[in-house]
Symmetry: C2
């Protein structure tokens, strides 16, 4: 068996953490370019936070003209899982120590014709280690061309790494972002993956990088295609109702949100995903 970087976990952590800082900066830059070109040039504000028990992170938040509210979170956290939570996580049978870093992005747009987008990518190490993440889109009004473009772009990202990924990760996404109590999907899906460790660090890391980089590129195209479309009050109202569903999903179902809030995470950064404004 050839040597694989997964055998040098310290190096994996280092490369992953460095990458996430790069990705965070890249996403913020791309989104600021959108504000520069189509808005009034608003910028992200940053705020550091520390985690009791080890590590911390930084929130970047922008209230712009195109982005009504967008948050880009980076975090590197470590410590020991509780007995109870450890049972849900692989690689904690002997040792409950964990290390995790990642970036998550949620953008709620001013125009009701531009979908909300969500992206998360992370690298987690216990006695095992793996990547997880995904990208999904939540339009208020469905648009066949936009959906085809979005899904095709994600399929291309997946196919660069593995021809089996797209189908599997798209299905997982549809299953995850579903509001059972309303029998409706949160949005139009995208891709969602977890516990990704093929045994080939280069392959997995590259896939994760491609997912991260693709998001602002894909989203910039979507914004450009809709930015000049005018809307009426009832379009905005429909968007605010859709955002109520977004709140319902995040607080009732989202594993990360509920886990974070129930385990003394940083409330402000966890709830950065909440829309700026919602109605019921």
């Amino acid at each position: 068996m050839l040597y694989d970087m997964y055998n040098n976990i310290d190096q994996c952590k280092k490369e992953a953490a460095q990458w996430y800082f790069y990705l965070r900066d890249f996403i913020c830059q791309q989104f600021e370019l959108i504000e520069r070109d189509f808005g009034n040039g608003k910028k992200f504000q940053r705020k550091l936070w520390n985690r009791d028990g080890g590590g911390g992170g930084e929130m970047s938040i922008m209230h712009g003209d195109v982005f009504e509210k967008v948050g880009v979170n980076i975090s590197t956290v470590f410590g020991e899982f509780s007995e109870k939570f450890a049972k849900e996580i692989p690689g904690t049978e002997i040792n409950k120590v964990f290390w995790a870093c990642g970036v998550s992005v949620v953008a709620h747009m001013n125009s009701p014709f531009i979908p909300a987008i969500h992206m998360n990518t992370r690298f987690i190490a216990t006695e095992k280690c793996w990547f997880g993440g995904g990208i999904d889109l939540t339009p208020t009004f469905r648009d066949n061309d936009e959906e085809r473009f979005f899904h095709t772009q994600l399929e291309e990202v997946c196919n660069k790494s593995d021809l089996n990924y797209y189908k599997e990760f798209k299905k997982a996404c549809d299953e995850y972002f579903f509001l059972a109590h309303r029998n409706e999907s949160r949005g139009i899906g995208g891709i969602f993956y977890d516990y990704l460790n093929s045994g080939d660090w280069e392959k997995d890391f590259e896939f994760n990088q491609n997912v991260g980089i693709s998001m602002p590129n894909i989203f910039t195209k979507i914004v450009e295609s809709k930015i000049n479309k005018l809307w009426a009050d009832d379009d905005k109202e429909a968007q605010l109702i859709k955002r109520g569903r977004y709140v319902e999903f995040n607080l009732l179902y989202d594993r990360g949100t509920r886990f974070g809030l129930m385990t003394n995470g940083n409330t402000e950064s966890i709830l950065m995903s909440m829309p700026p404004h919602a109605i019921w």
Copy 2:
């Protein structure tokens, strides 16, 4: 031992159900009087719903000038609990059959100076039977006089029935309406009780009736004291932020909301408690 009506459970159910219809109508009337006197005379709209498995209910909803959104739900439901849920409910060891009726009210007010109010009273029968309920207030801006008035009124309601009730039910309310992830209370509390069966039907039923009737009376006084107070945009903004916390509580913690949504309840009536409009 004297005969007590609790020994005639069918009669208890009948009297409780009749009472809840009366209470629902009384509350709607009182709230419509507030809209007549201080608003533009809006009225409640009603909508019936059926429950798969047995029973159903009726929502009454009003979008007025004083009441930005108020819902008054009545329901009478029956059937059999799931194996899993039955474990959490008294009197289901032998038989998982249940019967429940009740009224719940949530009012979100247009003025940021008038608190949101919530009231619920219910009668539940399995092999055991009991009353539950409570009233609590969620102001955006705290007001000592208002708080003293509110708590004193509830204390009087409790003291009519039992001098031990107020202290116990106030404490239970403070413990229940608490957002652990923000280390803050939802509002200023009130009273909260469950599994109330003293062995004396007349006493328990009367207490429950007094709680129900007191709410619109107390709330009308609170509305009157604040209705002429003018507010600025930042007062309204503070209210919308407070409402975000209300959403967080209901979706993350509220037992009734989560239970209802997770067990195929009527989503529209369960989420009637959501504010009309919230920001984060």
